[in-house]
Symmetry: C4
Subunit: 248 residues, 4 copies
């Protein structure tokens, strides 16, 4: 293969991977559908009592998907050069095919963990998520505040755990065995999930829960407020940016 035909092939790959051309868009949608079907197929594979023919079909489909993804990966390296291998998307692309490729060689025992790792494939989808510019700008504006807020949330969860442990440990030693067990209750309660596997039964514990929840509503409100405020600001920033670009 001489350099000239190689260049022609690279150009052909570029057209396929470029999402501005018609054929590029079609290829994008093909890959997206494949990722989605692969996610569904992986979910079905875990179903118990699958008939033999279904397992065979899923097996063949898996290899079809991995073959396509491997070809796509190689095409992207051909276009982007070796530096693509060490880029973010290069890593994701590699990790999307590796579990199945390795799984074919190794013994059956460690296959399950490799199977689970195939979920990484779903992250390939994020490449196609657009319209997120505003979300990124917004999160950039409040990153520090959100991290700080996460710390406050964990602090509140910890203090709630200690409190409920104190109130409920004697009444329900199996559910509130330790502060760590009580932490699970705090998470489930303050996020208002409330499975019902653990809940206070003593009057003191119930009153404490009431107090914690009155604060909890406030806690849940703050990140919502931060994000809403940041999204509006991001909107303004993006509009100013666009205006200044148009003026040029």
């Amino acid at each position: 293969m001489n350099r000239d035909s190689w260049n022609r092939i690279r150009k052909c790959f570029k057209t396929l991977l470029d999402d501005d051309t018609f054929i590029g868009k079609a290829f994008d949608i093909f890959i997206q559908v494949l990722i989605f079907l692969s996610m569904v197929s992986f979910s079905i594979e875990t179903l118990p009592h699958l008939p033999g023919w279904a397992n065979t079909a899923l097996h063949y489909f898996e290899w079809f998907v991995v073959t396509v993804f491997t070809i796509e990966y190689m095409m992207r390296i051909a276009v982007g050069g070796l530096s693509y291998i060490f880029s973010w998307w290069g890593m994701i692309d590699l990790l999307a095919i590796l579990p199945t490729l390795i799984g074919a060689e190794v013994d059956l025992r460690s296959v399950r963990i490799l199977r689970v790792l195939r979920f990484i494939r779903a992250l390939k989808l994020t490449r196609y998520i657009k319209a997120m510019h505003r979300l990124n700008v917004a999160f950039g504006l409040i990153r520090d505040e959100l991290v700080m807020y996460l710390l406050i949330t964990i602090l509140v969860l910890y203090l709630s755990s200690v409190g409920i442990y104190y109130f409920e440990h004697d009444a329900q030693p199996q559910h509130f065995a330790s502060v760590l067990h009580a932490f699970w209750w705090s998470v489930v309660t303050l996020t208002t999930v409330g499975y019902g596997d653990v809940y206070p039964v003593t009057p003191g514990g119930k009153f404490f829960t009431f107090i914690v929840l009155m604060l909890g509503l406030g806690i849940i409100s703050v990140p919502t407020g931060l994000i809403t405020s940041a999204l509006q600001e991001a909107k303004k920033l993006i509009e100013q940016e666009q205006e200044s670009q148009q003026e040029k």
Copy 2:
């Protein structure tokens, strides 16, 4: 019937269906009450162990409603012409009477599905929902972002499912039988519904739930923020529109 009397009848229908006149408004309210009563009557009909006289009464009421709706449908065709049949509201109006009309002719077995389809009648109500201009403008502003956000949510739900499946499958093979079963857990948990039919029991699964929920609160906050921001923008756009109309 000559053309003149036909025109007079059409004019009469127009007055009845026009919601600006007094008689038109009264007719609107009559239809709305009928839709509402029909929804209630359909709900009551499904109650088990209904006495015979109640069934008879509901049956007669159903036919009364369908008769009125059929007359309304024909009046609207008379006013709007044949093109009304293929319009959005024409379809809804037809589907609102069809299940009962067909149900009278066919055998009993397939009647149940037809009965359920009568719920379409409730959509007739949306014709009367006004003051939604702002909501429509707001949703129009963020349609792309909401769709993209729905995809992100489904991605998060999928990754949560794979994670919890990995942690809980061995401990609770009946509840976390597959990734699809685990997806149900993800939906119930990340929306903070938390029925309590499935929940993690292993320390690893509980810690994973904690991580997932910390992100989940953030996820729930973003669409709220988008909608709030869009509602304020929609307000401004509508006010600007009204001002520019007044200036003319």
Copy 3:
């Protein structure tokens, strides 16, 4: 009693009921504490297995409260004239004392409903809730939208009920016996309360719940957005009002 001394008494009452003077403020706090204690006392009264002395104490306290409230009511009539009786606050004041006054005369059977009606007393507290000007302005701005939104919510709840009834009726005839029973499930699920008394068990029902909840999160977001937007607007309106008053 001549007119002069009557006027002096009225003036004295006015001072007591006026919340700008020191003695008026003290009287306000006294009434507020009494309302709160009366709420607590009513709650305690419903506790089963109360010892005799506690019942006696609560009985005497109840009559003390009613006596004070009756005197307050008469003072307010003396100051505000007969028109006070037919005002909003006059009604509340009367209803706060009536159940106990009537309960003393009638036989024991109907006493329970009268006892429950004593909760109306809690509404007396709303007289003292200030700083609500902004909330009132905000709700005034979006009253129509909120009402319209309530209708949409009920429509969504109804359609969810019909859907889940269709999917789950055969599998769980005891929980989803009718559309009315299914409506309870819709309410508990779409508000994300999720008691866990009813939940779907069929794959179809679970998938339907997933769809309903994706929309449900959006539904919960809209009134939050409307209220946030209205509160900011109310803030602006109030500031403009204050500025225009200062300019005068």
Copy 4:
């Protein structure tokens, strides 16, 4: 020790406690990690069936932590003078070491409550929570409204309790034994936690819950709106402040 060497030591302490220098920042992180590890260690300590060596290790670690905190406390007094003892942070610092110090002297029975009090140590972390300026400004703007809103919430919870008590007391006397028991239901329901330990079973009670929840969604929305609105205003105020400082 003469005054000169004392001053040199104080200066050295100042450098260590100052969070602008490199060594001060390192010391800060060291203390933060210690607080975090101490919180984890306290949680582990409450686990049942801990092996003997783990208890011994935790015991030694506890004394290491308390020693470091005591030295830090004394350094802060040396730098800040005796007035530090009566400052907010001085109190927290003292309460963080006191339980363990006293626990070493007293008999075993009262040790448990002292152990629980060690959670106060977590509050030492709040010293390091920065980026909260905006949150503080925002909460300062709506403090009155939030307090008033808390009162409204409690009023709504009380009225819900009385209502559900009336509807459910006869059907479930064990769960809705009194208005106080019903209050627990109100808290769990209106915060949308919904453990599932108590829920209405009568048609009347379920309908009442529906009404209460329709209002409940509104109630949950208002503080979110207040906080969002306040956060945006706080942003503006802080920016104005910074601009006026730059102009000087």
